[in-house]
Symmetry: C2
Subunit: 210 residues, 2 copies
DNA sequence: CTCTTTCTTTAGCGGTTGCTACAGAAAGAC
DNA sequence: GTCTTTCTGTAGCAACCGCTAAAGAAAGAG
């Protein structure tokens, strides 16, 4: 049933090329990476790029998906699986300290830093990443609110503010990683950040909430 | 003694034009703002821009200076004048909540967000802002270390990590402001952030240190 | 007035941008 | 082998990039 692909086969590995494009976008951002930069990084010519990935914007969107799949799925996983919101965020911050300073890869988080400086005509690219970031914070907020409802976190906890605080630290850590902070420093930052969290009511979890 | 200026006088106000350029850079970043964008925002033609400000990079540097003078001098002032490092940072974070969300102005902090996505050939612009950010953190670190030495903060306080934590929150707040967080939310973030700070030893100040 | 100085304007430089038409190359179908 | 399909490389499109030469306009000096 599987009829063989007709015509001349592609001479490059699509996944590898996408990975190279992703790293270029990760390091310099959407607007700052030109098609010439991409074809150099991916080691293919422009027509091959356009045939395989559409246009620059579509390639970027696919690169974002690849980034999420490779380096950010742990976020959702951690938030969903950890027994409490506090434990989840603690792990999240420490995992960020690691993933933002991986050797041989660009610093920081692509979702945070790849579309900060955008011209007017690519403002929708910036908007898309902004919505991803805010969705992440909303996700953390729901996790916190569940723990508040379950009595794990104090009833007076402002779930929204605590979630935004957590997102603020995460986004600041990305910037710090790009500015040269190493993993150990970011781990120390994560430890400090967790001391602002309200204490948990021991002996209870909200793992059934969500 | 004051001989009058010869030749045709400038038909625009240099400071006003610089202010417009600064806001354009503030909102979109160095690379994403073209000369055409600038001449439109400043309401002058390109040769007038080049005659008055040199080239794009020089104009950006002057815009950064103008930004610091208008919106960031309070930082150094606060750090130098507040009786303790803790009090200084507390004021700093709340002032940031205000200045990052001023109505009618771009969101966030120019020093943090105006050179995040840079092409290779303008990497020195990014480097210059990065050094400003790290110098700010080093300044906070010295203020903390002085309080530790004076016994105001616990002896075991890691001044470097606490300073980087503070910078992380400040930079995250800028990102949050750009992502839509309002002043009240950022103030709540600032309050959370301060709860990670170690307690002060009451009845003592380090106002003589520095 | 003329002369000099400095600004403003028009017009356009060489280079780069994202993107593509077109011809040639490499595969399967027959 | 030929035909069809699909990818690759060359070469180049219109539009924009940062920047500037050249000419005209507006001021003071004489």
């Amino acid at each position: 049933m599987a009829t063989k692909q007709r015509g001349r086969p592609r001479s490059f590995d699509r996944e590898t090329a996408l990975e190279q494009a992703m790293q270029a976008f990760w390091e310099h951002g959407y607007d700052a990476v030109s098609i010439a930069d991409l074809t150099r990084a991916m080691d293919i010519k422009a027509p091959s790029l356009y045939a395989a990935f559409g246009d620059k914007r579509t390639l970027f969107e696919e690169a974002v998906e690849a980034y999420v799949h490779s380096y950010a799925v742990f976020t959702v996983k951690t938030l969903a699986e950890a027994p409490t919101a506090r434990g989840a965020v603690d792990r999240l911050l420490h995992e960020a300290a690691v993933s933002h300073t991986l050797p041989g890869l660009p610093r920081g988080c692509l979702l945070i830093s790849a579309a900060t400086n955008c011209s007017e005509q690519s403002s929708d690219v910036a908007e898309a990443l902004k919505e991803r970031r805010n969705a992440g914070i909303a996700f953390i907020e729901r996790r916190i609110a569940a723990d508040v409802a379950a009595g794990v976190l104090p009833a007076e906890t402002d779930a929204r503010a605590l979630a935004v605080y957590t997102g603020t630290v995460l986004q600041g850590m990305s910037q710090q990683a790009r500015d040269g902070a190493d993993r150990a420093t970011l781990e120390a930052v994560a430890d400090f950040a967790m001391q602002a969290w309200p204490p948990e009511h021991a002996g209870e979890t909200s793992s059934d909430a969500g």
